[in-house]
Amino acid sequence: MSRKILEVRGLSRIHGKGCPLCTLHTGPEFDTNICPFCGSVVAAHDINFDLYRGEILGIIGESGSGKSSTVKMLYFDDTPTSGQATFFDGAEQHDLFSLNAAQQRSMRNKRFGMVYQNPHMGLNFQISAGGNIAERLLMSDLKHYAEIRRRAGELLSRTEVSLARIDQNPKTFSGGMQQRVQIAKALATRPPLLFLDEVTTGLDLSVQAAILDLILEIQNELDTAMIVVTHDLGVIRLLAGRTLVMKHGRVIESGLTDQILEDPQHAYTQRLVASAL
């Protein structure tokens, strides 16, 4: 059985009315992703990649390069202008962008997980930490209270959040702890595919390290495939086996992370690596 979990082909997103020249006159070589003719923004164009079970794929690039746009489309937060994404779920295979809205929501709730940079987007601050995890479990049709409590406790322990705080509101938590609750929530349904969008941005270094260790442990333990979006080379170096480098909505370089970091081919990647070192 193939271990491929996600196949993305020709994924594009243009904000604005678009014109036939949009993609021809934008990109790294033009140093812009704004079409000079119609003013549309080419957020992502012709993104192609495969993702395998248990693999962590990094997407790196500067602000506005299209890395978050790519993940948003795959998580159904945004609709692509064109392209295809196939999700391989055991024996089943789903063309993600052909699913209707209800099927997409079901996929989001049961098979995908998302950890946002801003915990306010991923957590409900009106309810307890345990309630946030319960929400995910209830969405996947688990209706047994004791089992929900047990699973929530287990997940919070796993993400190193004290069990004594399970019934407290996450707004009373530190930023790092909120991020860990978000990870616990995302993992509640044991999704085979997890998206992490700038999860360590804004956290101090020691907390960053703890979160990254946690992500690696989870990957090893659950064999979860992950797409990690970041502008931090350190995160990519530590987590990702393969990396896509994006600029102005295009993938300008892709390959094994070590290779990209040790021997960057594109001028932008070279500058990126040099600036980090």
Partner: protein, 295 residues
Amino acid sequence: MNENYELPLEDAGYSFGFLDEYAKKEVRRCILKAIAIPGYQTPYASREMPMGRGFGTGGLQITLSLIGVQDTLKVIDQGSDDSVNAVNLRQFVQLTCPGVDVTEKTEEASLLQSRHRIPEKPLTQAQILILQVPYPDALVVVEASEARRKIMHAEADYSRLLVKLYEDIVHFDEITISHRYPTRINGHYVIDPSPIPRWDVPKLHQSKALVLLGAGREKKIYAVPPYTLAEPLVFDDIAFRVEDFRDATGVRHACRCCGSTVSFLDEFSNDQGMVAYQCSDSAYCEEQQQTGSAA
């Protein structure tokens, strides 16, 4: 038939049942749709009534659309036939539906319009219960957007309501919803069963009578058809519980008037500051007193 009624219809200046025939037909069509899709909130063109929204205009429009001269009406407000709201509604129907009989006895009524209670006496197939509803959507407490609520209903996604129950159990060791308990109808739509107490929720399950719920301000009608599943939203391992009216020693309070220990009780303080209990359903209580058969 109330033969002594003084105001003939031709002198009243409006149609039988106050609403014009077109309006009544439209409401009846919505009722049919609501029955066909149990628990679904059917939108309808709620008319202006000669009373403020919140005084039972939704229930009243259903009543006036269904009522005919052969009908006998009972109007209840919080279990009582004699409260101001119930009396006013009853008088309005009497005024606008000449010849319709009214009653305080549950078993005599063919139509029962009620606010906040379902009568203690079991209803029959020949009866229709009309409940006045202030907030028709059970999801309104967890989702402000009506567009999103519609999607959640369509997909039977009630996980956020269950999260609310989860939080209740976490913080208070039990579900604290005293009325408007979310109830799943026919295995799909979850309704707000109007502000009936939890005590009354099991009466909706496989009810012999048709139950219609009307929200005038929110312009929605929904139904629990006869012999339909009506299950309160609960966790698999935590059973639904109704009010037990037990004191600290575990003894069930009894009605101070009829002595009933099997009815829903209202709690109030008397002039001496003592807490007393009395049947909420006044007609039931009177009957128990007359027959002396209270349990």
